[in-house]
Symmetry: C2
Subunit: 341 residues, 2 copies
């Protein structure tokens, strides 16, 4: 039997907590025999949800916490002030090695802050980075950083490239992932000061397959497997993906409902269209890992439902079994002299 992976799940985080979070945990242990889930949250609420299901009881347990970090709270204040919150309790379990990973749909900023302040960075990693998978025409691409470091430096971006490359190869299974830096043109001389400084460092980086700049236009076409950028630019990409997909699909639906003729047509294409567009639905790809911390933190979106939670938990298994953090630790170290230039 494979090694058991223990995942702490913040049962109180997100818009649909604790119902969908608990349901996702139950679905996971029913589908897989190599995962143990520790649900952190108000015991009476969590256990009431658990009571609705049949599951392998020895692989889900509840840890009672009487505090909850709210979405609108200041991240630093929340993490340092609410020691007994479902999020901080889970993070401390990761820190102490009682859990391999934590999944949360709660306050995004608090997850990023907690990754640094509670769980801690891997030795040699300057900044952890948020690395969601985003859909492309032919598959997915890893966007790193998607919002953890809004004023990143060149040496940070080099580490993002290294960490992203390892993740894409060993967790997602893309051999020799193509790494590109997000830029405003394909030519080497283009870019802002940060990109111009980072570009030659990435070229000099031996353990990644650097293919140069990528324009935002080429991201959905699948122009690269790992897209390196600072957290401000990455967050724009991530959020615009969300907003624009939503708006375009709304427009398509409006178009289909505009006449009787098109309404009939809409009935005929509905299933086919749904299947195709599902492949472009970011929530299918699990949560976003915060790479570079001593354990794994996975941030799933605030409106996560059970299937999102399940995907996020299962992602932690591959991460653990592939020894991603050991690899990050080894690779980051080896190029530090370049990264620090």
């Amino acid at each position: 039997m494979a090694e058991m992976v223990r995942v702490a799940v913040d049962a109180m985080g997100g818009d649909n907590a604790p119902g969908e979070i608990v349901k996702g945990a139950v679905e996971t242990v029913n589908a897989r025999d190599d995962i143990e889930v520790i649900l952190t949250g108000r015991r009476e609420l969590v256990d009431a949800e658990l009571a609705k299901y049949t599951y392998a009881a020895e692989r889900i347990r509840t840890v009672d916490c009487d505090e909850v970090i709210e979405t609108a709270e200041s991240p630093v204040h929340a993490i340092s002030g609410k020691k007994n919150s479902s999020m901080v309790v889970g993070m401390n379990m990761v820190k102490r090695g009682e859990a391999d990973a934590i999944v949360s749909a709660g306050n995004s900023g608090a997850i990023l802050v907690g990754g640094q302040m509670v769980v801690g960075r891997i030795r040699g990693v300057e900044r952890p980075a948020l690395a969601p998978l985003i859909p492309t025409e032919g598959g997915v691409a890893l966007l790193i950083d998607a919002g953890a470091n809004v004023d990143a430096r060149a040496s940070h971006l080099v580490q993002f490239a290294q960490m992203g490359s390892i993740y894409m190869e060993d967790v997602v299974g893309i051999k020799q992932p193509r790494v590109a830096i997000l830029n405003i043109g394909a030519e080497e001389e283009k870019g802002n000061a940060l990109v111009k400084e980072t570009y030659p460092l990435l070229q000099a980086c031996e353990r990644i397959h650097f293919i140069g700049s990528i324009e935002a236009r080429e991201i959905p076409h699948g122009g690269a497997d790992v897209i390196v950028c600072d957290g401000f630019a990455g967050n724009i990409v991530l959020k615009l993906y969300e907003g624009l997909s939503g708006t375009l699909l709304k427009k398509v639906k409006e178009g289909m409902m505009s006449s009787l003729r098109s309404k009939i047509g809409a009935l005929l294409i509905r299933n086919a269209l749904h299947e195709t567009l599902k492949s472009f639905d970011a929530s299918e790809y699990g949560g976003a890992p915060l790479l570079g911390c001593k354990g794994l933190l996975v941030k799933t979106h605030g409106s996560a439902v059970a299937s999102d939670v399940r995907h996020s938990i299962i992602q932690c298994v591959t991460f653990k079994q592939q020894g991603i953090n050991d690899k990050i630790s080894a690779h980051i170290g080896c190029r530090k002299e370049t990264a620090d230039v």
Copy 2:
């Protein structure tokens, strides 16, 4: 009769030059009686295209230029080296007041450089900014800057907000346009160093209707009328709009072609869908003006066809008739003490 507006058109710029450019010029003078077009380019090529059409000959003339700036050329080198190129000749006409504006589908970087080096800035404007209209659910929004200033400062962004606001109100016709700064969260304390520095300056700016931060997710929903950002971030938004729209529509088409049933459905909805999605087609909105120069420069996309050229030329008329540059000059001056903080 309205005052005649004289627009220089770079007949050699873009993938479809000179054919589509000349066709667009002819369509314009045939549709409007208040525009004169000056086509700059190789006379024999331009005149051969002109010979295909019937038009008011006194309102189109050709200025012969024997050089062409290629797409791949270094902008600074091209502008300073090719004095007799179709682009530089047109820019010099604007500088000398022989034309009110220039429209080009050529080398984007060269247009930005030429705006500063050849045409020159309006007194008081620190940096001209590229300001395309992008489609939203309910209409359009102005994105400023979309790529002219990749390392902008806070004082630049304040001027972008002022120039964008004037353009949106007087050219596009949106009363009291809502101005927002592109950010990674709606809260005031969020953002990178540039956004944090700019935010209070925009709050203190009296002549604009500043509504705070906008996340990229809200842009397609129409969350603001003027979106202020540095050229690096703006270029990402613009290019991702292009790439993602293309990919999603391709996915929709694939979905509709995946079974016989859905193919029949596709036939029924085709027209309705086409009409709806046309409203989301950026090329319908004309070219992007470079705001802040002494004359108007309009950059239309490299693959521009006649209708894009026509829209771009017509845009220049409103710009001129509304006296936009006089207004920019007046407004920019009045807040300079704040902008320079």
